[in-house]
Amino acid sequence: MQIVKIVIAIIFFVGLQGLLSNYVREFQRLDITLILVVYLSLKRNPMQGTIVGALAGYAYDLLSGVGLLGASSFTKTLIGFTVATFNVRFAIDNKLTRLIVIVIASIVNVTLFIGLHYVFNSLPEDLHLRDIVKLTAWQAAGNLIIGFFLFPIFDRIFVQDSYSASTRTGSW
């Protein structure tokens, strides 16, 4: 059941990102799929974090038509794995620290995404450093605000702890 919820959530949030961006252009600077990835990675299950990051990232890449297919998937996989692994050792999933995690994840997300495009020579031609800094600031602040409201909703939706669920079912 938990896996079905996660798959539906990924589809919903990737679709929602495009839908909201069509009406409010500022949503193009945020990454609400990342909020979901971070939340699901904070379940002390590195396997879940890795797979959710990879799938959500790949869906985002395809639907957003980014310049480098797999860039967002790479970024979100790394974030998912790292957050989950950190959470196993340092318990960073309380209400305050998970907001800090969102900010750090957003900064890493933009930096790595742009970095990969730079390495593969796929950046838009007229892109300046100030555009990247602005995008990073927007994404960190926007994701923090949206995460603040979304995390309690996620707490209700994913009420069954995926850590214990995976323990019982042996999945992920």
């Binding site: 990102q17 890795t50 985002y60 395809l62 860039a71 794995f81 031609e125």
Partner: protein, 284 residues
């Protein structure tokens, strides 16, 4: 060893496998820069279609309320009763205006559809790229409506872009302003040819126009029909700014797309045949 322990041990291996797949995917795409894995894209487009199609209605209402709020920002000092009445009236007016505008847009699209010498499919824009550096939209018609890859997309104002991804119910359209978009363009007065190229921003650039050609700001640019995608004579945009070239250097021409790409709501996908795009042998 518990399942979680073994899961923890397997996670780095899965991570490495994903990284390899992603790096291969990026390398392949970085080299080709053309087309997407259409089967995967088709699945994703189909999966998110219900969310984006259903959300479109809610989005329009929310957008209307937001617009109403913006209109009313300056009314703080009025008394509460008047403000409430004013609010209601403005909302009603806004709704009427929106309905009129929607009817007008639909009529424009229908007029254009009837006047074109090609068959076409009218579609609504239901989503936009979730990343500001890449300019793509998703429309609510796909393979089942007869749309095919690389078909041109236009509005009554001018060309919008071309279809680059297809699902059964939805299609992904690359806008003219996308970093990887390009169209053969011709200046309407000097008749000089060039290439209109997206740069990932609001404006495009027209390149390879000789510095010896006379180019005026505001001059219209039309399609040449030589790129094998867009038929000849469609409006691309207008010259916004000219960085004058010389005998040895091309002009640097900034182009404002004629179709308002920021507020697209309805578009037409042209169903062109091979004959429609046939290039005159003398030009070849």
């Amino acid at each position: 060893m518990s399942v979680v322990e073994s899961g923890k041990n397997r996670a780095p291996i899965v991570l490495v496998i994903f990284f390899l797949v992603q790096l291969l995917s990026m390398s392949w795409y970085g080299r080709t820069k053309d087309g997407r894995p259409n089967l995967l894209l088709s699945w994703v487009l189909t999966a998110v279609y219900p969310v984006q199609k259903a959300g479109g209605g809610v989005g329009s209402i929310a957008s209307g309320i937001w617009g109403g709020y913006i209109d009313l920002r300056g009314a703080k000092e009025e008394n509460i009763k008047l403000r409430a009445e004013n609010d209601q009236l403005r909302q009603d007016l806004f709704k009427v205006k929106e309905e009129l505008a929607a009817n007008h847009r639909a009529a424009n699209i229908l007029d254009l559809q009837e006047s074109l010498p090609y068959k076409s499919v009218a579609a609504k824009v239901i989503a936009r790229s979730g990343n500001e550096f890449f300019n793509k939209i998703i429309i609510d018609k796909g393979r089942l409506a007869g749309i095919k890859l690389h078909q041109p997309v236009i509005t009554p104002a001018g060309i919008v872009g071309r279809v680059v991804g297809l699902g059964p119910f939805a299609a992904q359209v690359q806008l003219l302003t996308d970093n990887y978009a390009g169209v053969g363009g011709q200046l309407s007065e000097s008749r000089a040819y060039g290439e209109v190229k997206g740069v990932g921003k609001v404006f495009c650039e027209m390149r390879n126009v000789s510095g010896l050609e006379a180019v005026k700001e505001g001059e219209a640019i039309i399609t040449t029909g030589l790129d094998g995608i867009y038929p000849k004579g469609l409006l691309v945009g207008y010259v916004q700014e000219v960085g004058l070239g010389s005998g040895a250097k091309s002009h640097r021409i900034v182009v404002r797309p004629a179709a308002g790409l920021d507020g697209l709501e309805q578009v037409l996908v042209l169903e062109l045949s091979e004959q429609d795009l046939q290039i005159d042998e003398t030009i070849k």
